[in-house]
Symmetry: C2
Subunit: 493 residues, 2 copies
């Protein structure tokens, strides 16, 4: 196979072949069976919030759009597929001249979302809706996982800055690059990875590793050399030998001897091992006594939202948290279980809603072409709950609305003083992109605002309140009619 | 920023900027301090085996070599860095004309390795050895994690085929693609992802999703249509409605009505939900009674090595396991903690060994430029233990060798009837690649042989025997001399 080296960092890879092989065998089957133009509707949704948290931050839409915009098959792809010996020439020609024709609706990046909500809805020819499943899920699952984790870590840090540190332990290159992008959406203020800044305009930061210290004859010489090179931006790593006896005294000495005489200040120190709570308090005291109240303390070393909460409870004096592997892999819960399910088919222009049954009632899909509303309290602008309806239903804000629990239907809430917002926006119209992605900074700001629409009870790290996602009466009726129909019919089809 | 779309799937991305920002600030510092050509030695090693397993399968070397071979900085990269305002023009010119000059030794992909062993050793100008740290760790950590997990899953399957299924829940695109590559090295027989075959020549497989069934009027029609399109390769998904009452009877009916009259056989069925142990036994019985003993049963649904062991203990009748998110993210342990540490510096052509102390004695690094030997038992060809020595030490196979425990030094073993192999091979000589990567099939075969060199006791999924990795007397003496020196000196440097 020939290989090309692409020099440019700003590259959009063609990932059209990153699809499960069965998407292609099914596509070929649909063509053979005359179902090339059969219109199908698919919903992407998830069932469980990672880490048993109260909400998910959705992310990855921009990369999904890039994928759709570059969706095309090269002659090499076609030859490769032909060699498998199972695809018809009709199907290969279909791929060679592939023209994306679907409509797609999606919830914008940075939005808080909840289980069973259609994050992305695809309507179009069934072979196409099927083909894009793998990349859709891969892209949204990955970035939503990391954005959600980042949001947890950032909230645990209570206003302090969180820096994403994890490239070296990410799961692959995009794990590092797009993971850092998602972490920024979730609230991190920057990353240690240079390429992330070049690609996405997210600030990259960092100063020194232990090897810098070790490559000089002494810690003092290493600090001095660094301060001479970076008089206005030095952050010194103080734990190579002994944090309190050697690291911090040497940092103070360098500040006094090298930086302050020239009118500069030591920007910060970094703690990367030992008892961070104890060391940070002792370090703060030593720095303050040396008149270095403005010297910031950064802490790293396998941190996550729980360790950060604990450190702050213990009064740790930390200004910046560097969070590595536990964030970039979402170590405590490294899988985001988004799924993509067929919810309707058009038969002779008539919409036929579809359902996927399961022995587990919570796994039964919500059928049909739907709309997702969020109810907000007029006075507080806090989110009250979400409502799934059929596509043509309209919520009349001038009237009270009765929400009811989809399983325990006697649980009802009458809403007044509310307004609603529709959550999905159209991003592709008959294959054409009709959405302009916000800048990454705008997404991050929007995400911050989104988290603020939630009540404290939904924001708890542990045992958060479960946010309401209800069905309209029409949708509920459709769903239970279908359940009854299929559970009677299909056991003896 | 301008963007390019690359059509070709066989693309080597230039990932030179995928480096922690501090590698660049340190590099700039080394140049400023006249240390551009200071020769340093770095070791990559890990301290802990994922999942508390008995061994690690090392993987990712080919991609690391690709990275080194494409290591170069574009004008855009240079401009980007210049705008940061902290890099000297000398350093920017150094990057623009970057010429890799290091020697690198590495343990080949597919080898079983153990904690504290130098997987990769880099010798060269310190700014260069430093620059490559991030990509080295990212590449080796990721693929070794997945290859090791795959090896566990494959062993649990006791000779049955394991198919990697996880693209949609991987952490990013390379998480899917290179993860599937690593899973193949670890023993999987294929992947569900088409692009993995096109890129790496690893078989991709798959037949149908639930949506195929749902898009027809009945399950029977869906199976019939599929069998007509793929008369020789159909695997039917039988759990959409009711596995035993509907799915398997319909599969048998289609085999009898459509396939067998034309001389074809139903290749297989797939179970994706429910009680797999029970369903697989019932399915096997139904298929056998229909004269379909050759119809294979594939099982999927959040499997991992423990669930597979349990299923087989319960007598499940499964021929092929499809393993998704638990493999592609190594869910139970999603971080491989490889580190990269400075172990020596050349000062006026004299080697000065370096050590990184830690309050945790097991975290103290092994200093110096070293060699790694593996001792094999002559009669059984089983691996007995590994030995780290200084670089110039030679093990004389004609004499007995005394191994001793590096902490409890009174624990000794006298080896006779052994032979040794050196594990590292040279892959770069003064910046030039001198290694030819084996094919992925060769690596997989080699890996299989590697696992067979281990005793059953090291292969246990739970509580495996801890394999010996000892130090030679010379290296041990060097290490403890350095520990004594630094723990006295550096507390008051």
């Amino acid at each position: 196979m020939s290989t090309i080296v692409c020099d440019c960092v700003n590259i959009k890879r063609n990932l059209s072949m990153l699809t499960d092989f069965y998407q292609l065998t099914m596509g070929n089957g649909y063509l053979k069976k005359g179902m090339k133009d059969r219109i199908a509707y698919f919903d992407m949704f998830f069932r469980k919030i990672p880490d048993d948290g109260g909400y998910v931050i959705i992310a990855g839409l921009e990369q999904f759009i890039e994928y759709i915009n570059t969706l095309s098959f090269t002659e090499e792809d076609i030859s490769f597929l032909r060699e498998r010996g199972i695809f018809s020439e009709d199907f290969l020609a279909y791929l060679r001249e592939f023209k994306f024709q679907c409509d797609i609706w999606a919830i914008p990046e940075g939005t808080v979302v909840f289980p069973n909500e259609p994050i992305i809805t695809v309507r179009g020819p069934i072979p196409q809706g099927q083909l894009i499943e793998t990349m859709l899920l891969l892209t949204i699952n990955h970035q939503s996982l990391i954005a959600t984790k980042a949001s947890r870590v950032v909230r645990a840090s209570k206003g302090r800055n969180v820096l994403e540190f994890g490239s070296r332990r990410a799961q692959g290159y995009d794990g590092a690059l797009l993971g850092a992008r998602a972490a920024y959406i979730g609230g991190c203020f920057g990353t240690a990875c240079t390429m992330v800044e070049e690609l996405y305009g997210i600030p990259s930061l960092g100063t020194m590793a232990h090897s810098w210290i070790q490559s000089f004859h002494s810690e003092y010489e290493a600090f001095k050399a660094y301060a001479e090179v970076y008089p206005t931006s030095s952050v010194l790593l103080v734990d190579t030998y002994n944090t309190l006896k050697s690291g911090i005294p040497n940092a103070i000495r360098v500040a006094k001897e090298i930086l302050e005489p020239e009118g500069n200040r030591l920007k910060g120190i970094r703690l990367d091992s030992g008892d961070i709570a104890y060391l940070s308090k002792a370090a703060r005291k030593m720095l303050d006594e040396a008149g270095m109240e403005d010297c910031k303390i950064t802490a790293s070393n396998s941190l996550d939202e729980y360790l950060i909460s604990d450190l702050l409870l213990q009064g740790a004096e930390i200004d910046i948290f560097g969070v590595g592997e536990n964030l970039i892999t979402s170590k405590s819960n490294p899988v985001f279980g988004g799924v993509y399910k067929l919810v309707a088919i058009e038969n002779e222009n008539k919409l036929e809603s579809k359902i996927k049954l399961s022995e587990n009632p919570e796994k039964v899909t919500n059928p049909g072409f739907k709309k997702l509303y969020r109810f907000y309290h007029k006075k507080t602008n806090k989110a009250i709950g979400d409502l799934l309806t059929l596509r043509d239903e309209v919520v009349d804000e001038s009237k009270p609305y009765i929400l009811f629990h989809p399983v325990h239907t006697w649980k009802k809430t009458v809403l007044t003083d509310y307004y609603v917002k529709e959550l999905q926006v159209k991003i592709f119209d008959k294959g054409q992109c009709v959405y302009s992605c916000p800048s990454i900074q705008e997404i991050r700001e929007y995400c911050k605002g989104q988290v603020e629409t939630l009540w404290e009870e939904s924001l708890r790290l542990k045992n958060p309140h479960k946010y309401y996602v209800d069905l309209s009466e029409e949708l509920w009726t459709l769903k239970y009619d279908l359940i009854n129909k299929y559970s009677n019919e299909e056991s003896n089809p």
